[in-house]
């Protein structure tokens, strides 16, 4: 019963946030809508006993990533006069058609499979609890190679961001 109430309450909030991302004229409002959606998803993670992922969702996504987004929005200025005019006119109705097609196909797949989208046989009998200990054990034993690969990716991304920020300034100095 609790899960049902939480699903409808935070499901509605997540959809409202998502619609705010797409339809808000002000990019800051879009960012706030995205934070609302991310926090609602964190509640779903807690409900499904993925506690560590829920905490990381709040700290990294709703905290760090969205702060970065807000910084960039402030940096480039809030552009209210966004040009929503299509350069190619017949594309305008097509985007709604395309969005509905994506939604229709995915929902048809889920409903068509009798609401049990997940196929396959589970090898455990009890639901896994996503504690920090369990996640860490999986991450550093079975998934240690992907983990190292992502650490390499993070270094490359950090160096790339620094390079993008640094080299244009250097070029200006030379001129």
């Amino acid at each position: 019963m609790t899960e049902l109430v939480l699903f409808f309450l935070f499901g509605a909030l997540a959809i409202v946030g998502a619609l705010a991302v797409v339809f808000a004229k002000n990019p800051v409002r879009s960012a706030m809508g995205l934070i609302l959606t991310m926090l609602s998803l964190a509640v779903f993670y807690v409900v499904q006993s993925a506690y560590f992922v829920a905490a990381v969702q709040v700290i990294v996504y709703a905290g760090a990533v969205m702060t970065l987004f807000l910084f960039v929005i402030m940096l480039i200025g809030v552009d209210r006069s966004e040009d929503l005019k299509e350069r190619i006119p017949w594309q305008r109705p097509l985007r709604y058609v395309l969005g509905l097609v994506v939604l229709g196909v995915v929902v048809a797949v889920i409903v068509g499979n009798d609401w049990s989208w997940v196929t396959g046989i589970s090898n455990l009998t009890e639901t896994p609890v996503g504690s920090a200990e369990a996640i860490g054990e999986g991450l550093f034993t079975k998934w240690v190679l992907p983990f190292e690969a992502t650490s390499l990716l993070l270094i490359v991304a950090a160096v790339g961001a620094i390079a993008l920020a640094y080299f244009p300034a250097k070029r200006k100095e030379r001129e």
Partner: protein, 101 residues
């Protein structure tokens, strides 16, 4: 009536479609980036729901990797947007047409 994995999948599908619609209709590069984040979050929800349905912790680990890749992507993507904004004084993707053939 209990909440099954299919419900979460349907909600994720709705969120993903809204994100895709945003990519199709917005012209502001930062907002389009946020729509990509929205779609990634929807996929994360399906990972968690599938992982709980299959009683497997791998779903949650997959979310972890998606999260790290998304963070790296945001860092580089926003740096590119800021770098382009310095030259063109706009964040509208319609104006980013210098590379067209």
């Amino acid at each position: 009536m209990t909440v099954t994995a299919g419900w979460y999948m349907t909600l994720a599908a709705v969120l993903f479609s809204i994100g895709a619609l945003g990519i199709l209709m917005r012209r502001n590069a930062v907002v389009m980036f946020m729509c990509i984040e929205l779609m990634l979050n929807a996929v994360n929800l399906t990972f968690i729901a599938a992982g709980q349905e299959l009683r497997d912790l791998t779903g949650q680990l997959a979310v972890f990797f998606v999260l790290v890749v998304a963070a790296a992507e945001v860092v580089v993507g926003l740096a590119i947007i800021v770098a382009v904004f310095r030259n063109r004084k706009t964040a509208s993707v319609d104006e980013f047409n210098e590379l067209k053939g």
